[in-house]
């Protein structure tokens, strides 16, 4: 009985709009698979898909590579220190994506701090704003808290006596880490990387603000279809494709690992 109200609410204000959107990809402007045919035969759309997947993969790898050492450190340092350092991860996490993208515009722009620091090295006063590197840096910054918090969550549960045990049996520190500790962390590493990949696929604000026309992701093209071309059918079609891909990948991640609840807090 008590479930009736939430279910009815979600049906009207959530399932209906999403369903209507999905339907539009088959009915707008005229019924059929025309939109999908158009999308799959359009080279520009393929390019966008390739760029989106490539940038998302790069960001996923970077966040995991940068995030793992932090998670490892946080899991092994004292409780009190970890509690403080985790704040340094969570505060950016709670800061609006728009504000963080704005911050990178400031940092990477013509007079930005990063540009100034790099200028003697590169001889380039232009700054790297509106480039793929800029998008990758900003997205890595925005998504980095996910792997840190997820991997830390797993490492916290690991038996802390395992590496010393390996050591006492004669393994060196590197060997103890690579053969004993790391394998236990692999599920969390893989699933957090895939999660970042899925979230990155749908990113809009950051590529739109920090990237140039060559960094148009699928979300940017969806927005353009609506706002510039008034092509609702194409926007709905691309959104449907994105939704299908994201849902499939999310389900795979959940199958692979039991990382429960993406409320990473």
């Amino acid at each position: 009985m008590a479930l009736g109200i939430p279910v009815a609410f979600m049906a009207i204000v959530y399932a209906y709009p999403v369903g209507a959107m999905l339907l539009k990809s088959f009915t707008e402007p005229k019924p059929g698979f025309g939109n999908f045919r158009r999308a799959f035969t359009d080279d520009a759309i393929w390019d966008v898909l390739v760029i989106t997947v490539r940038m998302s993969a790069e960001v996923a790898v970077l966040t995991v590579v940068l995030g793992f050492p932090v998670a490892y450190f946080l899991a092994r340092t004292s409780k009190r220190k970890a509690r403080f350092l985790v704040l340094l991860v969570i505060i950016p996490f709670w800061t609006s994506i728009l504000v963080r993208s704005f911050a990178w515009i400031v940092l990477l722009g013509d007079n930005g701090l990063v540009t100034k620091i790099l200028e003697p090295l590169t001889g380039d006063a232009q700054g790297m704003l509106y480039s793929e590197s800029a998008v990758i840096i900003a997205m890595t910054h925005i998504l980095l808290p996910f792997p840190i918090l997820i991997i830390k969550g797993t490492l916290d549960q690991l038996d802390a006596t395992l590496p010393p045990a390996a050591r006492s049996l004669g393994a060196g520190p590197v060997r103890a880490f690579v053969h004993v500790y790391l394998p236990l962390a692999v599920p969390a590493i893989v699933s957090s990387g895939m999660l970042v990949f899925v979230i990155a696929l749908g990113f809009y604000v950051t590529p739109a603000l920090v990237g140039g026309p060559k960094q148009s992701t699928i979300a940017v093209v969806i927005a353009q279809a609506v706002q510039v071309n008034f092509d609702w059918g194409m926007a709905a079609t691309l959104a449907t494709m994105l939704l299908v891909i994201a849902t499939a990948l999310t389900m795979i991640v959940r199958r692979l690992t039991k990382v429960k609840g993406m409320v990473a807090l």
């Binding site: 279910v7 940068l66 809009y204 603000l209 994105l242």
Partner: protein, 293 residues
Amino acid sequence: MAAPAAPGAETRPARPPGRRRDRRSPTTPLERALHWGLRGVVTLVLGFLVTPIVIVILESFNSVDYLSFPLEGWSLRHYRQFFADSAWVDATLLSARIAVVSALIATVVGTVAAWGLARSKSRGKGLVFALLYSPLLIPIIVLAMSYYFTFADYKVIGQWQFISVAYSVMGIPYVLVAVSNALQQFDPELENAARTLGAGMTRTLLRITLPSLTSAISAGALFAFVIAFDEAVIILFVSGSGSVTLPRKLWDAVRYDLTPTLAVAGTILIAVCVGLFLLSELMKILRERRERR
């Protein structure tokens, strides 16, 4: 603290000498090198995470009309400018209003759902949970398209009430998870006991169940508020000209011109969201402390 030591404090066995050291202090040169290497990497990565946020806050105090780092000088003039400009102030107030309404809706719906799910024995439970939880997993641009089309079809683009409802959908998963977790710790026998002692259903809910869920509900509500206050994608399509929220205004301004006033807007967004987060952490710590006593 001046409070008398907790009972048991003196009886706790003294820490064996040297225990702290041999916990994980590096011994061989290789280990020491790895240890310091790790520390260096961690410092760099944490610096990378925090620096952009610090820069936004610092820029808002810049004394000149353009963004520059290091700052030319310190001043509050951009804050004065921000609060003198009714467009920015209205946008901030609108964001707050939308966030309050949508957090209220999300809290009520999410709490009822969590309670219903905890009590339900039906097989459709998993499906209901998936429905309520899925807004967290679907790409926001997909949600944005969905609401844009529906709002356009029903000609409600730019009406803040509808935007609040749309945002509440994104807050529901957070409330649901927070309250569900709390309900798992809650002993249903307490409800049964109250009922057998003659309390009616409503009375039991209000006097027994809800009070033990207060902190979970408020944590969920806080999440829902922040989500709605911050939201910067859906609003780009549904705000029309009538509902320019703070993120929407910031988005427009960023594409037009970069000034320290934008850093003020950014700082306000940071302050509200991070402030609420720290508040919830503080409440959690205080509660833990009270429970330990």
